[in-house]
Amino acid sequence: MSGPTPSATSADCNLLRWVQALVPKVQREGWLRYWRAELLHVRTLRPAHGRRDLALGLILDAAWLRSESLRIQSQGDAGWCLMLLAGVAILAAIPAVIIAGSLEAFIHSLAFWLPSFIFGSLLVVVASHLTSAIPVQTPALPLTLRIKSCVFYAGKIALLLPITFLLSADLAAPLHPTTSFFAFMVQSLLFALLALVALQWAILDGILRCKHCLRPLAEPIRVGRPSHNFLEWNGTELLCAEGHGLLSLPEIETSSSQPSRWLSQTHR
């Protein structure tokens, strides 16, 4: 059987035109081709089936493509990380508000805790920067990239410190009825401990992200032979999935071996 290929009806075209806005631009052409064919098959193979039978599938298919594209775009990027931390901050604040009795009482108690929070935060920030020693050799990056990286790091710290403070307050809350000074000491120690761990994570997370798109580096590959530690270089290399470059991390940092370094593939 041969003949001219049937074309879509105006109702099909309208349906496709309305729903196509949901589909990401790069996939739109393929999606239109796919659904034009499917709609025509229904009409030619099963005329009894209405277009309505496929309409839900068509809409949900477009919605799935959109949600998948959003998922891929946001997976692990800087905005996603900050949003996640903001969500954790809100979750950490909920028990504190419940313990305080009301939002007003919670805000009032914040004013009381503010000096110790600021003092503790400063100490922790200074201590964690002095103790973290994984310097990465990075070629000169454009100013915008450096600003973006700094803003992301500052955002992470600005969220991590309140999170750890609130968590320490939540954990120390059961001690308040017994003695407030003991509770204050326990909370301060917990805060220092949690904040130090959180800031170490923030620094390490910054190192293990692409210096261009700030997405986490992937595909760690071991390079070299560990048995030849003192004779030749061995370590791990991590790649940016977007192809911006790779991070080379030696197994052992020594004065004779090459340090950790970022090899950019787009800006030399």
Binding site: P4, H41, R46, L54
Partner: protein, 100 residues
């Protein structure tokens, strides 16, 4: 390791393994609504359990219809299909064997 499949996803995968190749055909064979079949096919393709390919333009033109996007089961899909058949033993009975 085979991914965990829902009953409807396993049914769709079974349909593809039996030779039902394009969206509407799979929908008819499984009896599932379009709102389940099409997104499930996308998910199966994302998870590399099925692969899709357009039929040659010349084949479609000979038959006087638009080109179809055909799905086929992959090696991973076959393993997942076997695992799903073990998990849902009545799965195969729900589908008629494709004759043409």
């Amino acid at each position: 390791m085979s991914p965990h499949l829902s009953h409807s996803a396993a049914l769709i995968l079974k349909a593809v393994s039996l030779g039902y190749r394009f969206g509407f055909e799979i929908m008819e064979a499984t009896g599932l609504p379009s709102g389940t079949v099409y997104p499930a096919l996308r998910r199966l393709e994302r998870d590399k359990l099925v692969a899709s390919d357009w039929e040659p333009e010349s084949d479609a033109a000979t038959r006087g219809r638009p080109t179809r996007c055909y799905y086929s089961i992959t090696e991973t899909g076959n393993a997942a299909n076997l695992a799903a058949t073990g998990r849902y033993p009545l799965l195969a009975q729900l589908l008629p064997v494709k004759t043409s």
